[in-house]
Symmetry: C2
Amino acid sequence: MMNRTDSDEEKKTPAFQMVIDHLREQILSGGLAPHASLPSERAIGEQFGISRMTARRALLAIEMEGLAYSSGRRGRFVSPQRLTYDISRTVSLSALAGKEELGLTIKVVSQQTIEADAALSAKLAVAEGEALYKYTRVFLLKDHPAFIEEEYAVARLFPGLLDHNLQQSTTTLMEKEYDMPPHSGDITIRMRALNEDEAGLLGLPTYNAGIELEQVIYGANGKPFCFGRQIWRGELAEFSAHAIVRG
Amino acid sequence: MMNRTDSDEEKKTPAFQMVIDHLREQILSGGLAPHASLPSERAIGEQFGISRMTARRALLAIEMEGLAYSSGRRGRFVSPQRLTYDISRTVSLSALAGKEELGLTIKVVSQQTIEADAALSAKLAVAEGEALYKYTRVFLLKDHPAFIEEEYAVARLFPGLLDHNLQQSTTTLMEKEYDMPPHSGDITIRMRALNEDEAGLLGLPTYNAGIELEQVIYGANGKPFCFGRQIWRGELAEFSAHAIVRG
DNA sequence: CCAGCCTATTGGTATATACCAGATTCCAAG
DNA sequence: CTTGGAATCTGGTATATACCAATAGGCTGG
């Protein structure tokens, strides 16, 4: 059935591995351009003389490598390039805004006014129950989701914030319209599995891994005014920083 | 066959999902302590009345969530707690050293002297071909691998470095023995799939995702003297920073 | 008591098959 | 030309089965 080329050398080299190597080479060599479609599970199965489940497995590995993304039942496509986010230079997406060539668009998923719970009141140094603006947005590169951002802003400091167009950098908005430039930020980055909602918004299977970035943004007076949580497709994120050693 | 409780509500809720939810609850509630063993694929299959492949799928999802790790053909075990690495305060593992309760040990995998290639000479601002010390170490928590570190140090600055015991913080070593305290660092963090060697050292299946952290460490004179690359088990890593906005 | 072997168990790989539901394509009826 | 629906894609879920290799545990003979 299979035409494994490893029969001469001792043994092993799984079948799905050959498919992975083949697809990776195709993608990295540029034989398949970003957003081009990959062969279907069944097609790969026939092409390599393996079962669909084995082909599927290879494709899922390619997805995990970040080389491709799947889009529901439409098929799988080659991933675009990784973005770099300099956390010691910027807060929020100011570094990305203006990069028109990336095809960055923002989709507002929800916006509302809520009351601070215990966790948020601690992060934003406000009383529990104080009004906060909460808005959720998805950032897309050429219609391909890159990350989700949930932001919580102290409502008292930004009256009418939700009346503005949220399809832009909110830190720019806060700086220009409310004279609240960001001064510093506390950032936490970790890798974790996505829940169902997040996976749905990012177009990923549930329990795929992604990168979570949380940040509290402080104003010139040293007080926090905004808390944000971003969930990135892992293969698209890259974070850089320049740190001065203290103590 | 199965005893799915979702027959009353409309439909769906995959079988493997029930297993995931059950295992997650068990682990998060503390019913299963860190490093305790999980039921085998076959045992879960029988317990839930599903096939082994479906049980396997649920277990792999639990692994991806970081709640458990597999250890070759010995079985699967509950993951220990996540570590936090403050990149704006420290370089290398000084933050972790001294935390005896974590059971941190270091295994030296290899050490050698090499010549700088183009990439390394650029990062370390030395001539191509200049001698560098290279050593690879695995950091373990109670015998459970947490991350791999490859470090490259400019040999000229640290004569005889490899004669020291490398089962300790090398930045401390460089500071105490060679009077080269770290002053600042350039750090890059990304998520990516592991290759075979890395997966082997970390006890993970190949093509699992992990977090890569690269850093160039600069001395007080502003010159780089050490380049390191760490590959973390994603579920164990957490990076934090305090950043001042510039520009 | 310990070394060596045998066996049971575990995860890893692989197949063939089946049905479902969303997406796309295309053609025919209006 | 447009709309409707059918046929045909796609991936998602699930099963039953098979063999392999590495591990762990128990037993047995020295």
